[in-house]
């Protein structure tokens, strides 16, 4: 187990280093924050003063080493836009993002998994086809299109819900639905495929032949075995809780991490972008680690390292 964790931690460290380095190089090479933040009308003297104040006039490798050593000492830097600590700026936005992504995750699970199971158990029926048509529509419609459609119907035409902002729980309904529908569709398809594969296995036939009730066959034999691919997808969804709502937050003017990321990238606000990327990478790595552990719980063969 110790070896398992050590290897995972080393991999995580390498991944984080690559994320930091890649993001630094891309951001620095593709735009000068001084030009972008100060704007095209700013006096040249002001742009130069900005560059000097932030050390942007130094060679790139000096900037990189200085930045990397700061990260190692726990300093994630400050926003070039307003001088605040990047970690504080990001931390302020996390609750807003989680207020969308957690209910959306619950919606995905509540809709996607039962729909997938139902479709698999009624394979080739009208219900199966209807669920799959909806699922295909759900994950092929881009979230910005779906979001705008929902706004047009429920905010502009019917006037039932607000079109954007973050003032009350009602403001979260449309973005949560927009986020939830796409994920539920993906989960439904994966769950259906996994269930169909398991339902075709000999041990399912054996259980049925032994006279076990079909409900028990499904709940005790099919579902646990079909859970592994579904858990993998859920792991990805949990990993993207922090930055999985970039487009939806923009469409609904929701002031979360996603919108902060868009603004920070556009402004080449390095410290803020890096801070978000590090958090996202850390969340993703943690989610993957948890999924790996869950595999062991779901399938004892994986725990003992033996093939069936």
């Amino acid at each position: 187990m110790l070896r398992f964790f050590t290897i995972r931690l080393l991999r995580a460290a390498v991944t984080l280093t690559m994320v930091v380095t890649f993001a630094f190089l891309v951001l620095i090479a593709s735009g000068d924050p001084a030009d972008i933040i100060m704007g095209s009308d700013a006096p040249p003297e002001a742009i130069e003063a900005f560059r000097q104040a932030w050390g942007l006039d130094r060679p790139i490798w000096v900037q990189y080493l200085s930045y990397f050593s700061a990260i190692l000492s726990g300093d994630l830097g400050r926003s070039m836009r307003d001088g605040r600590d990047a970690i504080v700026l990001v931390a302020e936005r996390i609750p807003a993002t989680l207020a969308l992504t957690l209910p959306a995750l619950a919606l995905k699970l509540a809709l996607g998994i039962p729909a997938g199971i139902y479709a698999a158990l009624h394979r080739n029926s009208m219900a199966d086809r209807a669920v799959m048509v909806l699922a295909v529509a759900g994950f092929t419609i881009p979230s910005f299109v779906l979001g705008l459609l929902l706004v047009l119907v429920f905010a502009v035409q019917l006037g039932w819900l607000p079109s954007g902002g973050q003032e009350s729980w009602r403001h979260a309904i449309l973005p949560v639905i927009t986020l939830g529908i796409g994920g539920a569709a993906v989960l439904a398809r994966f769950t259906r495929s996994a269930m169909l594969e398991v339902l075709g296995q000999p041990y399912i036939r054996t259980a049925s032949a032994k006279g076990v009730a079909w409900r028990a066959v499904v709940s005790h034999h099919a579902l646990p075995n079909a859970a592994i691919p579904t858990v993998t997808i859920i792991g990805f969804m949990v990993g993207s809780l922090l930055a999985g709502a970039v487009v939806v937050e923009s469409v609904f003017s929701w002031p979360g991490v996603g919108r902060l990321l868009v603004t920070a990238v556009a402004n080449r606000d390095l410290a803020v972008v890096q801070c978000i990327l590090l958090l996202v990478a850390a969340t993703m790595i943690t989610a993957n680690l948890v999924v790996d552990l869950l595999y062991g719980l779901l399938d004892p063969r994986l725990r003992s390292g033996k093939e069936g």
Partner: protein
């Protein structure tokens, strides 16, 4: 102690009563961006979005008639006296109450323009990291640089007596009064600055004299103003104004239609008709004090020849662009000047006419053989930018010019020097009513155009210096004309396209007029409700 507590009780009960009795409505305005720098300090937020808001909370000694002819109007000063070419004296408006309840004094003026707010105290700064903001009251280096650029010759601001201040310049400058109209020179409370926790806290809640005071600023989310009921210009008609940030234009329009906001700014021209189809809404807006231009890089192998640059200008049908892309709702200025220049406005000046035959003749004379000319372009940083660029590329193609459109992501990529830098989009804001505030600022010595080594002309530079220092008005007109001849005809550094315009969608039942600039005026003279 007991008495102090009891003394507060009537006020405690009175406050809700007052709030209930205040029947003025609350306005909600959807904007694309509240502040680029996440601050409201004008020298730090020199942007279109910053110009939109600053007149709400802060004012200058001399104001601008934004909803009229853009000319100067008395604001915090009631009288101006020119003592000599270097010195101007201002009599301050008496009894102007600031947002912190204090009466504005001459010391506030000296602090706001000549003191620590703009120029700092010279305290040492740490290199390579943010130094202002959370640590102290020293303004950021770019604030000081902007201040120096705005008031380049300012020597000192003297408090002459109660309500009288004197501005002394190192060099003669007839534009000093006009420079003071810019929002860098707004008058803010010295006491509030000194009481602030740090510069960032101050910059997020500057205490000025405007009709509305900053109540709450949530960067990237919303900015709420409350009426400043002791405003010298009359009680503001709205109780509160809340600006909410909605980056997407479609979402702003949806918010207006669903009744969540009363105004939606930055409406693209192609959406005006769809908004106005609904009888409850209208779109206001017009040409503003900003001119869209195209800058030439004269170090480019083809553009080195001024004949090619002149041909490019003759090939463009500006009227067709304004008619088709702007629905005729903007104007074509007569060169890089606006009518509010007053005695400096050259009525008989005009842009090179649309003349494809002349363009072809110039290209023949230049020996142009279809060599590619790169045109770096951002994706709609300016309204209609991409469509405009595509139309112009076709107009150039029609006269034989091979202009190649290159889409870029940001200004660094647009400005990066090299053989592939040729033509680029730009705009020029007339920050005050004199060519010094636009032509010299944007094209003269030390300007962005010359610093980036896109264009330079020794004769033009000498005339720029003369225009800045001369106090002979007749001579200044001659100098200005000659400068336009050089930079727009003989050795083009840019070509004028059209005046920029901004459009605001609003509820039709709110009486309000859009200004001829970025600022939104919500004072009693420009805002009303009901019949």
């Amino acid at each position: 102690m007991r008495r102090r507590h009891l003394a507060g009780l009537p006020a405690l009960f009175a406050a809700p009563a007052l709030a209930q009795s205040d029947q003025r409505p609350e306005l909600r305005v959807a904007v694309q961006k509240i502040s680029n720098s996440n601050t409201l300090e004008t020298p730090r937020e020199q942007s279109n979005v910053g110009f939109r808001l600053s007149t709400l909370y802060a004012e200058s000694l001399i104001g601008t008639n934004w909803t009229g002819d853009l000319r100067a109007v008395p604001e915090l000063a009631t009288a101006t006296r020119r003592l000599d070419d270097r010195t101007v004296e201002f009599e301050l408006r008496p009894g102007v109450r600031m947002h912190d309840g204090r009466v504005m004094t001459a010391e506030d003026v000296a602090f706001s323009i000549g003191g620590a707010r703009l120029f700092g105290t010279g305290a040492a700064r740490e290199r390579g990291g943010i130094t202002a903001g959370q640590q102290g009251m020293e303004p950021q280096p770019e604030v000081i640089a902007t201040a120096r650029r705005t008031f380049p010759g300012l020597e000192r601001v003297e408090v002459v007596g109660e309500g009288v201040v004197r501005f002394v310049n190192r060099t003669p400058d007839v534009t000093l009064e006009k420079r003071l109209q810019q929002n860098v020179g707004v008058i803010l409370s010295r006491a509030a600055f000194e009481a602030s926790e740090n510069w960032l806290a101050w910059a997020r809640r500057p205490i000025g004299t405007g009709p509305y005071r900053v109540a709450e600023f949530r960067p990237d989310v919303s900015l709420t103003f409350e009426a400043h009921d002791e405003y010298w210009g009359g009680r503001p008609p709205a109780r509160r104004i809340r600006f909410v940030e909605i980056p997407e234009a479609a979402s702003r329009v949806n918010a207006l239609f669903s009744g969540e906001v009363d105004f939606a700014t930055d409406i693209p021209p192609d959406q005006i008709r769809s908004v106005e189809r609904n009888p409850r809404f209208e779109v206001q807006g017009s040409a503003i004090n900003n001119i869209r231009i195209l800058a030439f890089d004269t170090s480019h192998a083809v553009l080195r020849n001024p004949l090619v640059r002149r041909a490019m200008s003759h090939a463009i049908d500006r009227q067709a662009i304004v008619g088709s892309l702007w629905a005729g709702r903007t104007e074509i200025p007569r060169g890089l000047q606006l009518e509010f220049f007053d005695d400096m406005y050259l009525r008989d000046w005009d842009n090179p006419r649309h003349d494809p035959a002349e363009a072809r003749r110039l290209l023949r004379e230049a020996g142009y053989r279809g060599e590619p000319i790169p045109y770096r372009c951002l994706n709609n940083y300016y309204v209609n930018q991409t469509a405009n660029a595509q139309v112009m590329v076709e107009m150039w193609r029609a006269v034989g010019l091979n202009v190649q459109l290159q889409m870029m992501e940001n200004w660094t990529q647009i400005l990066e020097p090299g053989p592939t830098r040729g033509v680029r989009d730009w705009s020029c804001t007339h920050v005050f009513a004199d060519p010094v505030g636009s032509l010299v600022r944007a094209m003269g010595p030390g300007s962005p155009l010359q610093r980036q080594e896109e264009w330079s002309n020794a004769a033009f530079n000498a005339l720029s210096a003369e225009l800045e220092a001369s106090t002979d008005r007749a001579r200044r007109r001659v100098v200005f004309r000659r400068m336009l001849e050089i930079i727009e005809r003989e050795d083009p550094g840019y070509m004028v396209l059209h005046t920029a315009a901004t459009f605001i969608a609003k509820r039709r039942d709110i009486r309000w007029r859009a200004s001829r600039g970025w600022p939104m005026d919500f004072r009693a003279s420009n805002l009303g409700f009901g019949a």
